[in-house]
Amino acid sequence: MMFAAVTAAVIAAMVLTLVRAFAGPSLYDRILAGNSFGTKTVILIGLMGFVTGRPDFLDIALLYALLNFASTIAILRFFSYRRSREEAA
């Protein structure tokens, strides 16, 4: 029951993050919304394991956390690389 309540809360938080991703308005709002949505997906996958009584999904949730981190860094590096090249030119 406790896990179900936490899952509901995480889903509500996901909806709120979606609102930020839809509304924007700036680039960084959306990057942050994407990153934070990834974190909530990780939590949701972990919780789903406990709700169904098979917490083996925790490994996958960990991998997702790593992947989410790496992809946010990749997106941000992409812009900073582009900007520093343009400043140098």
């Binding site: 896990f3 996901m14 997906t41 949701l44 709700v51 997106i75």
Partner: protein
Amino acid sequence: MTGYAPSLSPVFLIDLALLTMLMLVAIAMLRSRHLFAVVMLSGIYSLLSAAFFVSLDAVDVAFTEAAVGAGISTVLMLGGMLLTARREKPKRPGRAPVALAAVIVVGAALFYATIDMPAFGDASAPANADVGQQYVERTASEIPMPNIVTAVLASYRGFDTMGETMVIFTAGVAVMLLLGAGSARGGRDVSDVENKDEEA
């Protein structure tokens, strides 16, 4: 197990929430004209569908979806976006009624086709009954791999997987040859705030 009976179990509610959010994200992607927002939303869409695949027990598919959809293709689409305009041009409403009718007819046909499909998790369904049953029974004794999906992909269908890998490798080489060194020049600063839009 008689089939997938929708009840108000927690898993059903999670699936419902995930699919609702998927639909909302898809509609927002269609309506948005900011290409950067569409790229970020498509990353979120991939994360959501990955979570849905985990809920369906298709963990390997979910991981591929997260790695390719949310990771690599987001970066690739950002790279593509830098080579083009940042906003989508508004389309003139043209043959929308014809397209809508076509979509409705095809959609109705697909829904009609689902009536004949076996129930979710049905043990006597063709996908589960013959070859699938053999894999489940024989993997443990024939192949020293604890994961049946890995055993099927890497051993039973090893040549198939090798062919797929070669196709993907060839596609990657072809894309790199097409883009060449020229892909590194050009592009522009990206921001989706409205009034800084000098390109229109």
